[in-house]
Amino acid sequence: MGIRLKNVGWKFLMILFLILFSFPIIPLIITSFSAGWRWPEILPDQFSLRAWNYVFSPYAGTWEAIGNSIFIAITVTFVNILLCLPAANVIARMNFKGKILIEGILYAPLIIPPFITVMGIHLTFIYLGFTESLIGVMIAHIAPTLPYMLRALIISYQTIGLQWEEQASMLGAGKFNRLRFILLPHILPGIVAGSSLTILVSLSQYLITFLIGGGHVVTLPIILFPFISGGDIGIGSAYMIIFSGLALLSLWTMNTLLKRYYKARITFIG
């Protein structure tokens, strides 16, 4: 009896949660299909495909923007993992002089407004010839995303002492095997958490992408912002739906891959 009640309570909570989550998306969908939606109408009296027609017309460049957004986000994630694995390892498990300073510098992008850093990055990139290119935008995206990946990895590393690896080493495991069988499985959830945050933060960068990409590297925020600031809520809503879809899709993919990995590992060990 008690358990059943608990179940009902859970279900109720879940449904409430779903409603709360989907509520802001419903008007978004309706606006993107409406031809004007005025108070006090509960539903718009006219529907139109104007917004979606524009979004998927060849000159709107939506597909290119989606492709660029995903490509940049994924590349940035990989670079972040490579940069943060050694950094987090050292910061989490070793002590050295000036550690706080280095941590502070690495976390700085969380506190310092991006506009300040990006103006400097822009000048340097002009010298280096990185402006108006995908590579430049990717490198610039590392600044605001790195702290999230680093934080997630440091926490993972903190829960695993050096002893496990020492023991494996005594049992004759080489560097690669220690990484493959002890370290990676343990910090994988941290990598996934950091990757999700990196992808979300990278997907939503506007200013950095605009300044470094000069409008030539077109990502979703680049084509979305003018419509929102210009007040075309129909097209703005359509783009927002695509944007949320993209973010959800990448999170879902990441989650599925992780689950599959753990399943495979359990059967492998068993």
Partner: protein, 413 residues
């Protein structure tokens, strides 16, 4: 010994390279100087197969479509120039970018054409971010544009010196709902009375929103006795804006939400209007109301009106930055954008619905006939009525003072 030889070799090579660089730079400068003097045929030849990056505000699908669907294919077919529209949110971002590029002397800039006017033009001109005086090189400018007209020669009081070319003209209009207001006010004073009688039904976007700022200038002209006194730039200390602040503070308690807050942008005000929360909105674009009706955003009964004491008008321009890579292509593209064909299409509310920058008296008879046949949309006032009440914009430096003053005397109070 070997080491010294090696060092000498390096030195020689680097001098050679540096020398080449200088020579190349000179050659490039020669070409760009030539473009300002050479004949149109040479420019056309040079422009062929170039891809021109046109940086323009991308927040209206009509404007985007006009460029992508109407201009780009025709330009490509007629001249071989490819037009690539780059959407931006704020022209100031482009100015910042150019300023950065100027400070490190970047030569191969990616901005070929920039859509600009007012403060941004002054900023760009003062900082040497523009290429040069190219206007008189364009055949369509020579043939169709009245370059000496005051509203074209002066951009917010700043002499254009041929560094930018007029692309279109905009005028300030108020937008109202005919179903709710039978007799729209005819002056700023009448507007004040109307606001008192209809509390909560009017507001304006908070400056520095572009349109909100224009509304304040509109009120300034009438409350301080006309625009003429502002045509010559003056010192801030000499100016008396007090009647303006008095007026704005007087209407404040009867504004939307008792004037406690102002919409942060025109987009927000438009939303309030289309939801029926307020009964008026405004636009620095006489054709906007018609196209918003067409889109279904504004009610069918939406109309526009202008004040009889005069309504602000400005011209917006196209310019070429100092480091544009495809100057010839940019000239050819701008020339096409100023052709009667392109300008008429822009006037059509299907595309854009705004005033042309060409002088009607310079058009051919056929073109003029076509102009009369254009249907401008039901909420758009006829061109002669708009022209009758037109007054020029204020010099660019006043705009900043007014925006700061509004914050000090109206918003903070």
């Amino acid at each position: 010994m070997n080491k010294i030889n090696f060092a000498c070799l390096i030195l020689t090579i680097s001098i050679l390279i540096a020398g080449c660089g200088v020579q190349q730079e000179q050659a490039e400068e020669d070409i760009s100087l030539n473009l300002l003097e050479t004949n149109w045929e040479t420019i056309l030849k040079e422009a062929k197969d170039q891809t021109v990056n046109f940086h323009m505000w991308g927040g209206d699908d009509r404007y985007n479509r006009y460029i992508d669907e109407f201009i780009a294919p025709r330009l490509k077919e007629e001249t071989g120039v490819t037009l690539n529209r780059v959407a931006i949110t704020d022209t100031k971002d482009v100015i910042n970018k150019l300023q950065n590029e100027k400070s490190v002397n970047k030569k191969d800039g990616t901005v070929d054409i920039i859509w600009i006017n007012g403060e941004n033009f002054k900023l760009a001109k003062d900082n040497g971010l523009l290429w040069g005086s190219f206007a008189s090189q364009l055949p369509n400018v020579r043939q169709y544009v009245d370059i000496n007209a005051p509203d074209i020669q002066y951009d917010f009081g700043e002499h254009t010196e041929g560094m930018e070319v007029p692309w279109g003209k905009a005028q300030f209009v108020f937008i109202y709902d005919e179903a709710k207001i039978t007799q729209p006010p005819k002056s700023i004073k009448e507007l004040g009375e109307w606001i008192k009688q209809n509390p909560g039904k009017f507001t304006y976007p908070a400056p520095p929103d572009f349109t909100g700022s224009a509304f304040i200038r509109q009120a300034l002209y009438e409350t301080t006795g006309g625009y003429e006194q502002y045509l010559n730039a003056a010192n801030e200390e000499e100016l008396d804006f007090i009647p303006l602040w008095d007026y704005l503070n007087e209407i404040e308690p009867n504004l939307w939400r008792g004037g406690e807050t102002y919409p942060e942008s025109l987009a927000k005000l438009d939303q309030l209007y289309s939801n029926g929360e307020v009964w008026m909105t405004m636009a620095y674009d006489p054709g906007k109301a018609s196209s918003q009706i067409e889109k279904g955003v504004f009610p069918e009964t939406t109309r526009t009106f202008v004040l009889e004491g005069g309504t602000l008008s400005n011209t917006h321009y196209l310019s070429i930055p100092f480091n544009a890579e495809h100057q010839a292509g940019a000239m050819v593209a701008i020339n096409y954008l100023l052709s009667p064909e392109a300008q008429f299409a822009k006037m059509d509310p299907v595309h854009w619905g705004e005033g042309m920058s060409l002088d009607p008296s310079k058009l051919s008879n056929e073109d003029r006939e076509q102009l009369h046949l254009l249907d401008l949309g039901k909420a758009t006032l006829p061109a002669d009525e708009l022209a009758k009440y037109k007054v020029p914009e204020i010099p660019a430096n006043y705009v900043k003072w007014l925006e700061e003053g509004w914050f000090e005397h109206v918003a903070k109070r």
